[in-house]
Every structure is written in structure tokens, then in C-alpha cells.
Symmetry: C2
Subunit: 202 residues, 2 copies
DNA sequence: TTGACAAGTGGAATATTCTCCGTTTATTAT
DNA sequence: ATAATAAACGGAGAATATTCCACTTGTCAA
């Protein structure tokens, strides 16, 4: 279906759309050949045959570009979560939390390259904190709700926001791939450790 | 080469020492005037009146430079820890852990600028993980020992290495200053949250 | 003292990021 | 159609990061 609803906002110009597609294609191509981090914005602009200015007009940095590239996947990921939550709405919150973590880790494993790209330059450009991104914000929201539920169930008063922040940090590239690559932990082991720590066995 | 056994590393040349001092002075001066992150290596080289090559020969990046600048402070910090641990060697490990965290947070607050600099570019240059630095490695070691002790005391079998990794991540700039600046938590509150989570009340 | 040579130096060269701005072009109202 | 206009373009170029290497200079041993 096309979004031909009469938006007051002038829709994207045709040539602009073409260029964007060229940029995305170029990025995909280059990302297949080299590590995301190795590919420079210049290379992408070059490959796409647009000037660097054009590229930057559209994407403030590589991170945004990557986000655009996996946007669809992210949407699918959240669909999966929604389905999972519906199917398990009667399970205890701790079980649901674990399920979500598991889904995210699977997602992270599948799309590690691009996901890494998304989180990357967010440390250079905006002030800081890779915790700030649509993807992470939405997850944060889910996690906070689950932690809140757990607090009710278990009669605890843990700080849901703080714990969600930390949990997300543990799932972000820096920490996660350190555990994978340096500590040699498998995704499953990481999941277990996180559950042990965050799903109060307290 | 001479067949003799003198493996002594030729000590730093006099002129090199002078240059290094000039670089450090220049860095201090610039860091006082601007945020650490704003100051470029070039500026430092300029201010110190050495070529960029000379600067890079000594410090692979700003991070290393910062580390050199706070090296003394870091040493003092570890002295404090040692003293603290001696004075409290009979306290339960959980108490000692909290003490160390408190000391580190105080340290972090006092030297936030430079410490931030230390952790900064380490994300760009080497593969990744700001967990890797002499400062953090040494802390990691301490933490692991305390967690191990706690496991014995409390008859648990938590993963000390993993928990130490995560705890350090929570104390690193990204996470810590996010909590401070965005969540508006005080150092004390952060400390409490970390203790709640990591010092098993389980 | 001296000379061999490792250590150290400067800065040109290359690569990247990112901005600025004059020019081009698609769209839309007429 | 056509002109007005906002959007989009592209590339020059400023600021950085980082490397390379031909040249200098302390140091040490004889």
C-alpha cells in the first residue's frame, strides 16, 4: 500500500528518492565486502555517485544510515516481541523478560554487523550514551514495565529504570561483544548470566 | 650488536623527556581551557611546539595522553584502596566491595574530565571495549576477588568475572554520566542501586 | 673525543569527517 | 506550459586524525 494520503508535507522528491536508494544500495554493497566500521562515508558517497554533502544531508552519520538499513528488521523484531508477549501474557513477568532477552540476543546475533553500526558513532556525535536510540528506547520501555510487574509479584522495590538501563547496556555492542569475543561466552551463557543477575532470585 | 648481556633499556633521551614534559604541559593548559573532548591532538602538538608525528610517537591517542596525565592520581587512588582494604580486612566482603565502589565513584567525580578522556578514544582505536585499560584491569581483579569471597561466604555460585565486567561497565563514563546527567541520580544513589543489584541480597 | 646508530624529530602527505554555498531541478499554482 | 520556489545537489575546502620517512641528535663504547 502506498502512503499517498494527502500529507501537507511535500513528499520526497523523485530524484531524491532515487539518490537515497542509490545510497542504500551502495552501503549494502560495501557493507557486504568490508566491516561496517571500515567503510567511510566518503566511500559510500563515492560508490553511490553522490557528493558527500548529499550523503550528509540525508544521514547525519553512519549510525543513522545503518539504522535506515535495518529499520525493517527492527520492525520485524518488535513484531516478534509483541507476538511473544501476547502468547505468554499469563506467564510470570520473569519468564517473559527472559523471553524478550532471548529474542533480542538472537536479533543481535543475526544483525550484529549493522547493529554495531547503529550504536557506533552515536558515541562520537551526540553527547553520549548509546542508550539513546529509538530501538533502545522502545526496549527500555518494555523492560521497565516487566521490572515493575516483577516488583509487584515479588513484593520488591527495585529500581526498574536503573535496572533496565543497565540491562540494555549489557546488551549493547561494547559489553556484549566483549563477552562474546574476549570472554568467549556463548549467547546462551550470556543470557543465563543476565537472568541470574537481573531476574531477582533475590 | 654487542654480545654482552646488558639488556637494560636505554633510558629516555634527554630531549625526548623535555618534549614529553612540554606535551604534558600543553595538554594540561588546553584541558583547563576547554573540554578534554574538544581539544585535538593537533592543537596539543601545536601548543607544545612539536610536530604531530612526535606527539603520536609518544601517545597513540588522546586516551593514552590522559592516562599519563592522571597516572599519579590513579596510583593514589589505588593506594587509598589498599589502605581501605587493610583497615577493613575483617569486614564482610560485601562491605568492602561497597567501600571500593564508593572510593571509585569519589575518584570518578573528582577527575571526571580526564577520566572521561582516558576512556574516550579507546572505543575508536583498538577493536573495542573500554573495559580494557590498566586502570580497569586492576579494578577488575579486585572486584573478582571480592565476588569470589562473597560466593564463599554466602554459599552462592555467581559468576564473578561476568559480574565484575558489568559492574565496571556501570562505572564507566557512558553509563555513569548517563545516570548522572540524564537520570539525574546523585553519586550516592548510583552507589546504592549498584549495591542492591550486585551485592546479593539474594 | 669520536663515530656509529638507535632514538627522536618535524612536517608533508593521505584519509576522513562534515559544512557551506552557489547551482540545478522537481513540483505546483497559475 | 511556465514561472516561482523550495528541495536537493555536489564539490570545494576546513578541521582532524594518523602515517611515513628523510633528517637530526643524544648516547654509549672504544
Amino acid at each position: 500500500m502506498n502512503g499517498s494520503e494527502t500529507t501537507q508535507i511535500r513528499s520526497e522528491r523523485r530524484d531524491a528518492a532515487e539518490n537515497r536508494q542509490r545510497i542504500l544500495n551502495a552501503a549494502i554493497k560495501l557493507f557486504e565486502q568490508n566491516d561496517v566500521e571500515q567503510v567511510s562515508m566518503n566511500q559510500i558517497a563515492n560508490e553511490a555517485q553522490v557528493g558527500p554533502g548529499t550523503l550528509y544531508r540525508r544521514y547525519k552519520n553512519k549510525s543513522e544510515l545503518c539504522l535506515d538499513l535495518i529499520k525493517d528488521n527492527v520492525d520485524l523484531f518488535f513484531d516478534d516481541i509483541e507476538i511473544y508477549l501476547k502468547e505468554n501474557c499469563s506467564s510470570p513477568p520473569s519468564k517473559r523478560l527472559k523471553g524478550i532477552l532471548s529474542l533480542f540476543i538472537r536479533f543481535r546475533e543475526k544483525k550484529s554487523q549493522l547493529l554495531t553500526g547503529v550504536e557506533d558513532s552515536s558515541s562520537t556525535n551526540p553527547p553520549r550514551s548509546r542508550i539513546q536510540s529509538p530501538l533502545f528506547n522502545e526496549l527500555h520501555h518494555l523492560l521497565v514495565n516487566l521490572f515493575d510487574e516483577m516488583n509487584v509479584t515479588k513484593q520488591t522495590r527495585l529500581n526498574s529504570v536503573f535496572n533496565a538501563d543497565l540491562l540494555l547496556t549489557a546488551l549493547s555492542r561494547d559489553f556484549y561483544s566483549f563477552q562474546r569475543d574476549v570472554r568467549n561466552y556463548s549467547p546462551e551463557m550470556i543470557l543465563e548470566e543476565l537472568c541470574t543477575l537481573f531476574i531477582s532470585l533475590k
